[in-house]
């Protein structure tokens, strides 16, 4: 039995196979509509999330399976003090696979250590968000036609943004990837990403404050939201929340074949005027998220496409 807790749980080859399957699902969606008949996905969401949870649920429903779960800690036994380990032991009796989001980092690992069913990390605090990473990889591969020889700009909250950490972890495995890390000094990537991931893999990266200066070099611009829930101090949040706003003027500085991604939800960091630009790919990215989660559920449940 396998879990997905970290983007690196799958080898490069396995990730490639998963993305191939996601692409086939996109191209032949009706052929997959019954492959998970009778299977149940439990969505264990200890903190609010609309998008990721609905994406998982849509994925399972598209495969012919069904879903059950909770969408906040208040509506689960966690409010009565039940441990993650006990919850997952019980859920293992009810479902065939589960997706867990938890505000505390490492909670999905605790679940996996006690689970009788595959556990998918749907985001744990500021730590990892591997299915968003798979979504991002599929988006980049579909839009650019490759996952190597790319200059990737990551902009916004790079300190607490788990999508950013997971994406960096995943992309360093591909050839000739360069990162431009755009953030205010307070929201730089954590030291372990800089040292153990980027420097340890000899990855070229630049840390800078100016989005304007970075724009002309980018193949992909990955915008992130400054997340209020990650701050202990509201003053810091207010000071930093609107530090980057992507608008038409900035888009003019970018290449014609550069694409803008965003894990969503956005707040102010991408002006709505950018939505009409053909390079704005963040809503298409959400669609890729469903396909890649379908592929992941099939892979972890060891379900194959019908012949």
């Amino acid at each position: 039995m396998r879990h997905l807790l970290n983007p690196l749980d799958f080898s490069l080859e396995e990730t490639g196979q998963l993305l191939d399957l996601a692409k086939d699902i996109e191209d032949n969606l009706p052929e997959y509509s019954h492959v998970c008949n009778g299977k149940k996905l439990a969505t264990l969401f200890y903190e609010p999330s609309t998008r990721t949870r609905l994406s998982f649920e849509a994925a399972m429903l598209n495969l012919g399976g069904s879903v059950l779960g909770f969408s906040s800690a208040d509506s689960s036994s966690a409010s009565k003090g039940e441990s993650v380990a006990d919850t997952i032991r019980v859920i293992s009796c009810y479902a065939d696979i589960c997706a867990m989001r938890h505000p505390k980092e490492g909670a999905p690992l605790v679940a996996a250590n006690h689970s009788g069913i595959p556990v998918i990390n749907a985001g744990d605090g500021g730590h990892q968000h591997p299915t968003q990473t798979l979504t991002d990889l599929l988006s980049i591969r579909s839009l650019k036609g490759r996952l190597n020889d790319l200059t990737i700009g990551l902009c916004g909250d790079l300190k607490f943004g788990r999508t950013v950490h997971s994406l960096i972890n995943a992309l360093v495995r591909y050839q000739n990837i360069k990162f431009i890390l755009i953030s205010p000094p307070e929201l730089r990537v954590p030291e372990y990403i800089r040292e153990d991931v980027l420097r340890a893999n000899n990855i070229e990266f630049i840390e800078m404050d100016s989005l304007d200066d970075a724009m002309p070099d980018l193949d992909i611009l990955y915008m992130t939201r400054v997340q209020k829930e990650r701050f202990f101090n509201e003053e810091d949040y207010i000071r930093l929340k609107d530090c980057y706003i992507l608008d038409k003027k900035k888009m003019k500085l970018a290449k014609e074949d550069m694409y803008v991604l965003h894990p969503l939800p956005r707040v102010n960091e991408i002006s709505v005027e950018v939505d009409d630009d053909k390079r704005a790919a963040y809503f298409k990215q959400a669609q890729y998220g469903v396909y890649v989660r379908m592929a992941l559920i099939m892979t972890l449940l060891e379900v194959n496409k019908p012949c």
Binding site: V84, H102, K104, G106, H127, E191, Y192, D196
Partner: protein, 141 residues
Amino acid sequence: MLNIGGLKEGIVLDHIEAGKSLEIYYNLGLDKLDCQVAIIKNAKSNKMGKKDIIKIEGGMDHINLEILGYIDHNITVNIICDNKIVEKKALSLPKKITNIIQCKNPRCITSIEQGLPHVFYLSDAEKETYRCMYCEEKYSR
């Protein structure tokens, strides 16, 4: 010169960095033993200038080499039998340590689930860096 009697059978922890012996005494749980334990502080050392030494009566059962390796892998562990050193055990940084240090990251799952073991793995042997198994936060000594 202060003279401490010889040890017929037991363990001598030698080359402890001066001042660290009490930390080791408590971390190894030596305060809970019934046998004789001698702590020698600031002993003269050609190699270190000053060093601490701990002598423990009895067998190896008392010593958790994993803890000792984490605290200071340069310590020499001498096994004494019939007043002679019969074995010197080399210490190394353990690859994994459990319930020796605690994760300080307030966002880590261990901060709310008290029953979880605090597990750290050696992420960089050269820099002697350990990271929490759950949240990957670096442990700063």
